[in-house]
Symmetry: C2
Subunit: 123 residues, 2 copies
C-alpha cells in the first residue's frame, strides 16, 4: 500500500489531490481502475472522510476520475487527458526549479550541473 505522508503545512485535501494526480499520471493507477471507497481511502490516509471526499470532488471536476453512482469511483479512461496532465505537471516542475534557481542568481548551466551531480540519499 502506497504511503500518503501528508504534512500539516498545506491543506490536506490539496495534498491528497496532488498525490492522486501523481498516482494517475505516473501509472500507479491505471485507466479504468476502481478506487477504494471514500471511507476506506480516508481510513488509509488517516483523514476524515469529508476531507477525502473534498479531494475526490476536485479530482472529478478535472475529469481525472468519474463516479458511477452507488457503485464506486474509477480512474478516467481518457489516456489523452492523462498524458496531457502529466506533461503539464512536468512542465510546472521544470519551470519552478528554473525560476527559483534563477531568482537566486544561478545560471542555467549551473542548474544543470547541480542536478547532474545530485545523488539520491540512501539509508
Amino acid at each position: 500500500m502506497m504511503p500518503w505522508d501528508l504534512k500539516s503545512d498545506r491543506p490536506i485535501y490539496t495534498q491528497i489531490l496532488e498525490e492522486m494526480k501523481k498516482r494517475i499520471i505516473s501509472g500507479y493507477y491505471q485507466p479504468g481502475d476502481k478506487l477504494l471507497a471514500v471511507r476506506e481511502l480516508a481510513q488509509e490516509a488517516k483523514v476524515n472522510p469529508n476531507t477525502m471526499q473534498k479531494a475526490m470532488m476536485e479530482l472529478e471536476r478535472e475529469n481525472l476520475v468519474f463516479t458511477v453512482r452507488t457503485t464506486g469511483r474509477y480512474i478516467t479512461e481518457d489516456t489523452e487527458l492523462i498524458a496531457e496532465t502529466k506533461k503539464e505537471f512536468a512542465a510546472s516542475h521544470v519551470e519552478n526549479y528554473y525560476m527559483q534557481m534563477k531568482d537566486l542568481g544561478f545560471a542555467k548551466n549551473e542548474m544543470i550541473e547541480l542536478l547532474s551531480s545530485y545523488e539520491e540519499e540512501k539509508e
Copy 2:
C-alpha cells in the same frame, strides 16, 4: 520596490519568511542593510503588522537578521551563514525537482533534457 505576490494556499507568514530568505541569499538585501520598519513592510506586503512580525521573529531565530532595539532590524553580516543558507536552499530545490520527476517515472537524463530545452516565457 520588489513585489511580494503572496498566495492564499499557504500561511502568509511562511511565504514572507521564504521571500525574505530569498532576498537575503540572492543578494537583493546586502549584509548589514537596514530593513524597513515592521509596520512599513506590512503595509508594503498588504498584510497585518502582526503577521509580518511573526515572519521577522522566525527570520531572527535563524540569525538571518538581527534587531537593534528601538532602532530597527538589519540583515546579518555573517556572510558564511548566508552562503550556507543559499547552498541548502539550492540543494532542497534540486532534490525536490529530482524526486517529483522521479516519482513520475522520468529518468535523470530526461530531467536534464527538459531543463535544457526550457525557454523562459516572454510577454
